[in-house]
């Protein structure tokens, strides 16, 4: 059992290359908690914008008739990875974890695995 603040701190401390992280309310596009970021990465703006990313993907899956759930979404930039992990048990209410990683320092497989662990801790 963890609270939002410790979960976000753990995200930044344990995941190599983590630049910033946010817990986002999908229904409103609001960040319920943020850590890291800074002037180069406004996490509240990222939270609202990435809500649109998730919504677009959900709509696309409906158009394709895919009866499946999104576990995570990866966006690869030149210098960063952005990872969006949808929290499961809250289905229609919808919250997601958003993680920005420095591409040069991050291990993507490890980061996905650790983010999954942090998500599980938040919910149990």
């Amino acid at each position: 059992m963890a609270n939002v603040e410790t979960a976000l701190k753990e995200t930044l401390a344990t995941i190599d290359g983590a630049i910033g992280a946010a817990l986002v309310d999908y229904g409103s596009g609001m960040a319920l908690g943020t850590i890291g970021g800074g002037k180069d990465l406004d996490l509240t703006v990222a939270a609202a914008g990435n809500t649109d990313v998730v919504r677009a993907k959900v709509r696309t899956m409906d158009m394709l008739g895919l009866k499946d759930e999104i576990e995570d979404i990866l966006i690869t930039l030149g210098t960063q990875y952005h990872l969006i992990r949808l929290m499961k048990s809250r289905d229609s209410q919808g919250f997601f974890l958003y993680l920005a990683l420095d591409r040069g320092r991050a291990n993507l497989a490890m980061a996905r695995h650790q983010l999954q662990k942090i998500e599980a801790e938040l919910e149990i």
């Binding site: 229904g27 409103s28 319920l32 908690g33 048990s89 809250r90 919808g94 938040l122 149990i124």
Partner: protein, 263 residues
């Protein structure tokens, strides 16, 4: 309201009283027409509004908490003002889940409590809420988010009348997709329920429902109500206006002279 007017309004402080109470690090309840904000040392620790489902509905209807667990917590810990802690300690709810839902509920209720045009605000110093302490958020963050939400609604589909009118679904266009989340909402829109009623039925925060309904209306899946246009009142003008004749210049001159003479 035109976008220009909306932009002008948002520049105004959301609530000068709230700003002052936050600066004073006040503790108590800020009561407004459409809701109440609870402050502790100037930070917002809880909010509720009759316009949106409370934490109980979000956790039971919208979440997985059994209603009996909630009632038990209120009965046994309400008097001590530690309902939140009781829910977590008794194993009814994970700490993280409670915190996330509570934060969502604060911002949701605050959006309605701080809505413009509501009457005078009162502050009851020292008042606390029985939910107990969960998390607190700075008043400035709540004001900023409230402003962002107002702008977001208008950016999506600028028809505020949708927020209070019954939601009337429309048939999807051929080939148009409706997502599972939208279908859940549309299935409960019976042409009578307003977005707030739907929020209660779905166990979702009311702002989320307003936003969903505006998006559905923008996509043509919900009727957009239009303000009844007031028919221009046709008052027949008297004949002496409509049947104009050329002014009697000579008469007007005599009148002016007479007035000047009496000065």
């Amino acid at each position: 309201m035109t976008p220009a007017q909306a932009g002008g309004l948002t520049a105004v402080a959301i609530s000068p009283l709230l700003t002052r109470l936050a600066a004073e690090r006040a503790t108590g309840a800020l009561l407004r027409d459409r809701g109440t904000l609870f402050l502790e040392d100037g930070r917002i620790v809880h909010a509720e509004s009759p316009a949106t489902p409370g934490l109980d509905v979000l956790l039971t209807t919208g979440g997985g908490l059994a209603p009996e667990r909630w009632r038990e917590a209120v009965d046994r810990a309400g008097a001590r003002r530690q309902v939140a802690r009781f829910l977590v300690d008794s194993g009814g709810l994970a700490g993280g889940e409670l915190e996330i839902c509570h934060l969502a509920a604060i911002f949701d209720a605050a959006f309605f409590a701080l809505s413009p045009g509501t009457g005078p605000s009162r502050f009851r110093r020292g008042a606390t809420h029985w939910i107990g302490s969960v998390r607190s958020v700075p008043a400035a963050a709540v004001e900023r988010e409230t402003r962002r939400r107002r702008e977001l609604l208008d950016a999506v589909w600028p028809y505020p009348l949708l927020d209070t009118s019954p939601v009337i679904p429309r048939a999807a266009a051929p080939g148009q997709t409706v997502t599972a989340r939208q279908r859940t909402l549309l299935a409960r829109a019976d042409g009578v329920r307003t977005p707030a009623d739907l929020a209660w039925v779905l166990g979702r925060p009311a702002f989320h429902t307003l936003l969903d309904v505006r998006r559905l209306a923008a996509a043509g899946l919900v009727e957009t109500p239009h303000a009844p246009v007031l028919a221009p009142v046709e008052t027949p003008l008297p004949d002496w206006i409509t049947q104009t004749q050329s002014p009697d210049v000579a008469l007007l001159r005599r009148l002016r002279d007479a007035l000047e003479a009496s000065l």
